[in-house]
């Protein structure tokens, strides 16, 4: 987005300058129509923000900002007044996303290092393609696979093992038959691997060969050269990749909804069921009345805010890279 495209550099002259007479009409018309479609997409983004903000006003008026740290969610029940607090879901989103990064990022970086620094040339492209296929699998399919393969495995093997080894810590106490934050975090980790690894791969590719050679000529081993000159050199790009992965993990809905166990509470144990913002919206939107729907829309606004923030931060990072004369894939 920063460096003008090759076309732009070559044929940048605006239409009217080339054709002062009526011949510019076609060019201007073309510019107008295509420009209107691009503006339409931008306006859609604006409309999403405005509608979500506008429709969260009823909740904002009643509960104000404490909505964000309230812990109870009480829809109309005829006895107690309605009460909406988002903290359990924000907590669920934070914990599962953190788990996804904790598990997914080292694996993604390992993959990128293998593909750029270690893999034989003929294997590089096909292997990279297969890893990126993980991104083509729809979220709901991850969810179904989670229910029938991952959840039973976690519930019968991983969770009991963690429980018996680390059950004395608050992080791994109790059990929920595999439907819990840890399982959701593992699925999210798998889902962010294609995003994080492919952008990290681009960042590593952009490291000049001379960096590696300099380290190797000083007597560094391959790994030392990778760690000192490649990873350090590419760290901004890698950081951007992690941020984009975070954005993807926070908004992921179906796979989390199907594996997190849907418990509306805050437990410290990773082996406890929970709700993420996205899964909570998916589970409750259909039955929600007026005020509850407004509260759910406000949760959606929070998600939207997170996704815009992560995207802007990541792209500003990539921009700073290209500004420094490097090349980062987007």
């Amino acid at each position: 987005m920063e460096s003008p495209g090759p076309i732009a550099q070559g044929t940048a002259a605006p239409a009217p300058q080339r054709d002062a007479s009526g011949r510019a009409l076609g060019d201007n018309l073309f510019l107008g129509i295509t420009g209107a479609t691009a503006a339409f997409i931008n306006l859609t983004l604006l409309l999403i923000i405005v509608i979500l903000a506008d429709d969260s006003l009823p909740t904002l008026r009643v509960f104000g900002l404490p909505f964000l740290w309230g812990t109870s969610w009480v829809p109309p029940n005829g006895i107690t007044p309605q009460l909406y607090g988002a903290l359990p879901f924000i907590y669920g989103t934070l914990v599962t996303s953190a788990l996804a990064l904790l598990i997914g990022v080292p694996i993604s970086i390992g993959i990128a290092i293998f593909l750029v620094e270690l893999s034989p040339g003929w294997l590089r492209e096909p292997l990279g393609f297969v890893v990126e296929l993980l991104a083509a699998v729809p979220s709901v399919v991850y969810g179904l696979w989670g229910i029938f393969v991952l959840v039973p495995f976690m519930g019968s093997t991983v969770d009991p093992a963690l429980g018996s080894a680390l059950g004395w810590t608050p992080l791994f106490s109790g059990s929920s038959q595999g439907y819990n934050m840890l399982t959701a975090g593992v699925i999210l980790a798998i889902m962010i691997i294609p995003t994080v690894s492919s952008i990290t791969r681009d960042a590593l590719k952009s490291v000049p060969q001379s960096q590696r050679e300099a380290a190797l000529s000083l007597g560094a081993t391959n790994w030392e050269a990778t760690r000192v000159s490649v990873l350090t050199y590419a760290r901004t790009g890698i950081f951007g990749a992690i941020i984009l992965g975070l954005g993807r993990a926070t908004g992921e809905t179906m796979a989390v909804t199907m594996t997190i166990g849907n418990g509306n509470f805050i437990h410290t144990s990773l082996l406890s069921s929970a709700q993420s913002i996205a899964s909570f919206i998916a589970n409750n939107f259909a039955e929600a009345g007026y005020l509850e729907r407004s509260a759910l829309l406000e949760l959606g606004l929070v998600l939207l805010g997170i996704s815009i923030l992560t995207n802007v931060v990541a792209r500003v990072l990539f921009r700073s890279l290209t500004g420094a004369g490097e090349e980062a894939g987007s």
């Binding site: 920063e2 090759p6 070559g10 420009g35 729809p138 809905t253 996205a278 998916a282």
Partner: protein, 302 residues
């Protein structure tokens, strides 16, 4: 002493290389498992009835005899909604992509591209609740009656919004790879710029552009959350655009989480269908990208 240290460093290097290979294996395992499970469980469900019958009611095989049923209403629903979404999002997205690629040297256009990028990162569930809220607001304002709030049209709108920025950005990326010399040759012949853009730039990049549209459609085929929030699921084929409508991804969610064997089996059948289509389109896209690369001489540029 010195020798020991060098050996240790060398072994550490080997170990890290081995760990990196391990990371690749860890990532490939779930993919293989997903494909394997889909094929093994899904293949049992797929027969002639699978594509033509209506969705079966939930049924407990130990108490009653069960109808196997098929996925026809979900297939029909997905085709309708994808058709409408693609008919809107592909042409509009492509035009926007042409604009972004051809006028990308302007500062304003660069920030427009930035926001299209940001839009590709919006979680699809946010698109779902947005469309619901928008349709509800429109219905309450009297633009149409409330039957449209949860409808095939709302689902299509949500899918179109998911597809739009993807089509625009892939078109943009594809056209920016077309060598500027081609367009310059056309301009030098005195052909007007819009003609050059359509006949030279777009036609050179068309394989990549079409591939991008295909990938966006494939992505929309698997999108669940936006459809879940904007449509009423039904076990019968949709009759009209403002009524209930089934779809493949929502079927996978509803039937896959319900636990009734006849429905679970169909969920896996639908999964195999979707995963198969995704795989096919991804491979076609890969091959096409190679073809485009060689035709436009992009070998080093990609």
């Amino acid at each position: 002493m010195k020798f020991d240290r060098a050996t240790r460093r060398r072994w550490k290097s080997h170990l890290m290389a081995f760990l990196c290979l391990g990371c690749v294996a860890i990532a490939l395992y779930p993919l293989a498992s997903i494909l394997y499970t889909s094929v093994v469980r899904g293949a049992q469900a797929i027969n002639a009835d699978f594509f033509t019958q209506n969705l079966p009611p939930p049924c407990n095989p130990s108490v009653e005899s069960c109808v196997t049923g098929g996925i026809w209403p979900a297939l029909q629903g997905s085709l309708i909604m994808l058709g409408i979404a693609a008919a809107f999002a592909i042409p509009v997205g492509m035009m926007a992509g042409v604009f972004l690629s051809q006028y990308g040297h302007l500062k304003t256009v660069q920030s427009m591209r930035f926001f299209v990028d940001v839009m590709t990162g919006i979680p699809s569930i946010v698109v779902g609740i947005f469309v619901y809220a928008l349709f509800l607001d429109l219905a309450q304002a009297g633009v149409f009656n409330t039957s449209w709030v949860l409808s095939a049209l709302a689902g299509s709108t949500a899918l179109a919004i998911v597809m739009l920025p993807i089509v625009a950005r892939t078109t943009d990326e594809s056209l920016r790879l077309v060598p500027p010399t081609l367009a310059e040759a056309g301009l030098a012949l005195g052909i007007r710029r819009w003609r050059v853009t359509l006949s030279v730039v777009l036609s050179t990049g068309r394989t990549a552009v079409i591939t991008g549209a295909l990938l966006a459609t494939a992505r929309a085929l698997g999108e669940t959350a936006p459809i879940l929030l904007t449509t009423h699921f039904t076990t019968f084929p949709a009759q009209n655009l403002n009524g209930p409508i089934a779809s493949l991804p929502v079927l996978i969610f509803q039937f896959g989480t319900g636990g009734f064997p006849n429905q679970v089996s169909l969920a896996w059948g639908a999964t195999l269908l979707i995963v198969g289509i995704m795989l096919l389109i991804s491979i076609v896209a890969r091959v096409a990208a190679g073809v485009v690369g060689s035709r436009a001489g992009l070998g080093g540029g990609g």
